[in-house]
């Protein structure tokens, strides 16, 4: 161990330390940005260390340098443009694409080592085990994340896509992948078999993600994030690098936690999400017009934008409950504008359910972009403490997460964590129709006598209410 090797290893340790402290600083919006910059600094230190080590060893060829710099800089440029241009509503797709390339890179690193040593029988069993794991997990993450991104973007049908024999195909790909992997593990360093395993894993990623519906995407994106982390950590085992192992493990843990949290918030098990096949989340059967689906003889009270405006103008405490419908209609700016308007005479806050939006915490980003201060963004538990003292709760495009039936056993939302909107003194719901949410049952909140239903698109409805409130305030 010479001085350079020691310095390089210490630099990796420093980088890992930076990542951990950075994640720690994310426990508050006030320090999060500092954390992100610290993490970036750690990354620069790690890359500088890796380059120093390569220069010191002097084993890299000129072609190697060209390949590395052109590839790295080209990729960096694409990443930079994507991160600058993406609209905040499209963040889930881009995160998915970054997951894909991260997993893909991990698989390529493992494959690179394999291809170099193949045929000579010089691959130790520990490297072989890590390599086989990586050429399976990496490609699954790659193709799975791309399909997820396509579904989020609308390029791939966001409904669960099931074709005859899908399960059989998935089973076949699993068999080929595992069989090929075992063949390699038995000490046969055959490149054709490696390619076969990679192809089977890629196909598996596709058949795994296709049957999963759009509403389950928060879970899927989090899960694939976790997979990528694990793939990177395993690549660290292949090249014996602590930086990759620690960085990958941190991401694996983060993605794993978010996966479980999201699944709990949707009242599903991770397994049932992955088995897929039902639910699209884009709200019940098509063609259910206003009032048409007010089931079981329960009556609803319809109100107009003016009625809603009067209630809001005279309230002293207002909670706005944004849901998927608000994100879909891109109405976050209207919601923020209304909050500011009412904020002149009342206390306003946003009550945000963990699965509002299309990835964990997505709604908060949309509202922050629309200039809502983070002090007004309340998590579910904090919001639920406030609802009993709220004068008006304005529900915009949220359905199942407000259904009080969840507190009772015996129905499809039982046990699901919800926002206790029904405890507010009065409730206004902006919704396009009486169509069911993802759970497929009536929302008892809508038939509550204190609830007024305002049938409208989220964006147009909020704009009408804003106009009416302005008229009231002006007169």
């Amino acid at each position: 161990m010479n001085a350079v090797t020691i310095a390089v290893d210490l630099a990796y340790l420093l980088a890992a330390l930076g990542f951990v402290v950075a994640l720690h600083l994310m426990n508050s919006p006030a320090t999060a940005r500092k954390g992100s910059r610290l993490s970036w600094l750690g990354m620069i230190v790690a890359v500088a260390a890796a380059l120093t080590s390569v220069i010191h060893d002097a084993t890299i060829t000129t072609t190697g340098w060209i390949v590395l710099s052109v590839g790295g800089i080209g990729g960096a440029a694409v990443g930079l443009v994507m991160s600058r241009r993406v609209k905040m509503t499209d963040v889930p797709q881009v995160v998915s694409i970054f997951n894909a390339v991260g997993g893909g890179a991990a698989a390529l690193v493992a494959a690179g080592g394999f291809v170099r040593l193949a045929g000579g029988g010089g691959i130790s069993s520990r490297v072989m085990i890590a390599t086989v794991l990586d050429i399976i997990i990496g490609p699954v993450t790659f193709s799975g994340s791309l399909i997820a991104a396509g579904k989020l973007q609308g390029w791939v049908d966001s409904r669960p896509v099931v074709f005859p024999g899908a399960r059989l195909a998935t089973a076949a790909f699993t068999l080929i992948g595992v069989g090929g992997g075992c063949y390699l593990l038995a000490g046969n360093d055959s490149i054709p078999v490696l390619i076969l395993v990679v192809c089977a894993a890629l196909a598996f990623g596709v058949t795994m993600t296709m049957p999963i519906g759009g509403a389950d995407m928060p879970v899927v994106v989090a899960l694939l994030n976790s997979f990528t982390g694990i793939a990177v950590a395993i690549a660290g085992f292949v090249i014996d690098n602590g930086g990759l192992i620690i960085g990958g493990a941190l991401v694996g843990a983060s993605g794993g936690i978010l996966t479980v949290l999201m699944a709990q918030a949707m009242n599903r098990s991770v397994l049932s999400v992955m088995m897929g096949g039902f639910g699209t989340g884009d709200g019940g059967p098509a063609g259910v017009g206003p009032g048409a689906g007010a089931g079981a003889g329960a009556s609803i009270r319809r109100i107009s934008a003016e009625d809603a405006a009067i209630q809001l103008a005279y309230a002293s405490k207002v909670a706005i409950v944004p849901g998927y419908g608000l994100a879909a209609a891109q109405a976050q700016h209207e919601a923020a504008q209304l909050a500011e308007l009412i904020g002149d005479h009342a206390t306003v806050f946003f009550a945000i359910h963990p699965v509002a939006g299309r990835m964990p915490g997505h709604m908060n980003v949309l509202l922050a972009e629309a200039n809502v201060p983070y002090t007004e963004l309340k998590e579910m538990d904090a919001a639920n403490l406030e609802f009993p003292t709220v004068d008006v709760a304005l529900v915009v495009g949220a359905n199942d997460v407000t259904n009080p039936a969840a507190r009772r056993p015996g129905n499809s939302v039982s046990g699901m964590p919800i926002l206790n909107v029904d405890q507010a003194k009065s409730v206004i719901v902006i919704k396009r129709s009486m169509g069911h949410g993802y759970a497929g049952i009536d929302n008892e909140l809508y038939t509550d006598p204190k609830t007024g239903m305002f049938f409208s698109d989220a964006k147009a409805g909020l704009a009408e209410i804003i106009a009416s409130v302005k008229a009231l305030v002006a007169s």
Partner: protein, 106 residues
Amino acid sequence: MTAGLMSDIYMFVLAILVGYEVITKVPSTLHTPLMSASNAIHGIVIIGAVVTASQARTDAGYVLAFVAAFFAGMNVVGGYGLTDRMLQMFRKRPGPAAHDGTKELS
């Protein structure tokens, strides 16, 4: 070799535990930036791309190194860029643009 493998496994397991401890304290308000930040962290795979490029001697090796470097570069820079862009929007008070809106009404 076995000692190296054991310390790698120690590192892996302990890092998962540390990650678990740190990440459970992140509020759900920041879950999207958290995911993007962790996304950026797995861009550390770029070190793997550097190592792969340094060992490549064949055409196949160079192609693999090139694609790995491209993917990893995209992952790192895109991940941090996006995270920072999102986090700078989380402000304690509304920005100047929002204040103009209020004045217009009063």
